[in-house]
């Protein structure tokens, strides 16, 4: 745990000083939202369904940017090797990087969700807590496997396009579940319709995190 907190605190501290990662992700998300809003008109058919899809598109693209930068920062400072040279358990290194990425993406989501409601003329959902839970579960699935793949891509010359190429197909089940749950919540559907998608999200999260913990050690070795 000591290693986990040390790396997480270091990442947060670096981001606080740079104010680079979260800012870029937030600006990118807002641009995506505004562009879709203009393209689809102010009152698209079934606005809640469209808003849910657009919101997760913004999260996905912004998250990919963040994942690429997060590991690239370690690479730029040539510090990934120094991290791996320490006796720290590599599972904790992976978890700390993943949680750091999750925190940064969740900060962006706190900005993006209300903005989506405003831009698409939606009222606050009846169960905002469940919407927050959906965002958290979807984000865990996204950064869980995304951090692993970013670690793999960062050591290659093709890193800029390799991450989205690998990440997006793997993310399809998580994104479908997250979009479906978000649509139902924004349409204020009853909870029993939503829980199936949330259970699926939990299952994907567990599988992705477990597989990533096991694979990280082999991915970072040459």
């Amino acid at each position: 745990m000591r290693v986990f907190w040390a790396i997480l605190w270091k990442d947060v501290r670096q981001e606080w000083r740079r104010r680079e990662l979260v800012l870029v992700m937030a600006v990118f998300s807002v641009v995506v939202l505004v562009l879709f809003n203009f393209a689809l008109g102010l009152s698209p058919d079934r606005p809640a369904n469209v808003a849910a899809a657009v919101m997760w598109i913004a999260f996905t693209f912004a998250g990919t940017l963040g994942l690429n930068r997060s590991l690239a920062m370690e690479r730029d400072d040539q510090c990934l090797r120094a991290l791996l040279l320490s006796p720290a358990d590599r599972a904790w290194i992976y978890l700390a990087k993943a949680v750091g990425n999750m925190v940064f993406l969740l900060i962006v989501e706190i900005l993006v969700v209300p903005l989506t409601l405003i831009l698409f003329n939606l009222s606050v959902p009846l169960m905002p807590g469940w919407l927050a839970l959906t965002c958290i579960l979807g984000t865990i699935g996204f950064v869980g496997v995304g951090t692993l793949l970013a670690g793999m891509a960062t050591g290659t010359r093709m890193r800029d396009w390799l991450l989205p190429l690998l990440l997006f197909p793997i993310q399809v089940p998580v994104l479908i579940s997250a979009v479906q749950a978000t649509q139902l919540l924004l349409n204020s559907r009853p909870l029993d319709e939503i829980t199936l998608w949330l259970q699926l999200l939990v299952a994907f999260d567990l599988v992705f995190i477990a597989a990533s913990i096991l694979a990280f050690e082999y991915i970072v070795e040459e």
Partner: protein, 247 residues
């Protein structure tokens, strides 16, 4: 004189047997044997692409060997990675410190990774040792190349490792910084650490080492004991091997 094996009599600080690393069809290392006893220093020379960095990568548990074994302080680099990393300090020509963190923050961060007891006094002592006390609150990215290299030494010594791997540590240093750095390495050598020094700088390596070897195309092509007057003969062999290698 040429030999595939470097043998010294005492127990091993670093021991490598039949180490091979293949990247696809390319043999980066080809059955390398090394025995560097505890407390001694080997200077390893070789042209670019000889496999020196691959060897350092395997010894530091970052690169998986294709064949053969490597042991650091009697721990196998494949099986006992954590034990090996506890006993290993690596200094490269790249600083491996965070540019946006201060000198002290960098050392505090790495001391947490190594689980060092009483990190503050250890960091203070190291900052004094590498003469960076005045710069402790400066961001690492603002330091000169020589100062960053001193910070790298402090990072590598935080956990007081008995074995040091030095991968071309003189690269990019000006003449004065290289001299100061060589002096610092000599002090580490005097403390009884086992050192594998990979370098292109013939004289600096010769001054520090007990033994010198040349790695060419993934094989140890030549090795000798270091003697005060032996550097010229060694340089002649080195040049001949480089010419033969097409360098």
């Amino acid at each position: 004189m040429a030999t595939d094996t470097i043998h010294m009599s005492r127990s091993s600080g670093i021991r490598v047997d039949g180490l091979t690393k293949r990247y696809g069809s390319v043999n980066a290392l080809h059955g390398v044997d090394l025995d560097i006893p505890a407390g001694s220093c080997l200077a390893l020379y070789g042209p670019n692409g000889a496999g020196k960095s691959t060897l350092i990568g395997i010894l530091s548990t970052l690169v998986r060997p294709t064949q053969g074994t490597a042991r650091i302080a009697d721990f196998d680099v494949r099986r006992d990675g954590t034990e090996v990393r506890c006993r290993l300090g690596v200094i490269s020509h790249q600083p491996w410190v965070y540019d946006r963190l201060s000198v002290r923050d960098n050392l505090e961060f790495f001391s947490r990774l190594y689980g060092i007891n009483d990190p503050n006094s250890r960091i203070d002592a190291l900052l004094r040792e590498v003469e960076l006390e005045r710069w402790k609150d400066h961001e690492a990215g603002t330091l000169s190349r020589g100062m960053r290299q001193r910070l790298t030494i402090a990072r590598a010594l935080l956990h007081n490792p008995p074995v040091l791997l030095l991968d071309e540590p003189f690269t990019g240093l000006d003449r004065h910084s290289a001299k100061v750095f060589a002096k610092r390495l000599a002090a580490l050598r005097e403390e009884g650490r086992t050192i594998l020094l990979v370098t292109h700088h013939l004289e600096e390596g010769w001054t520090l080492a007990d033994r010198a070897a040349i790695l060419v195309r993934g094989r140890i092509a030549h090795s000798v004991d270091v003697t005060p007057n032996g550097i010229e003969d060694f340089a002649t062999v080195f040049d001949r091997l480089l010419e033969g290698n097409g360098a």
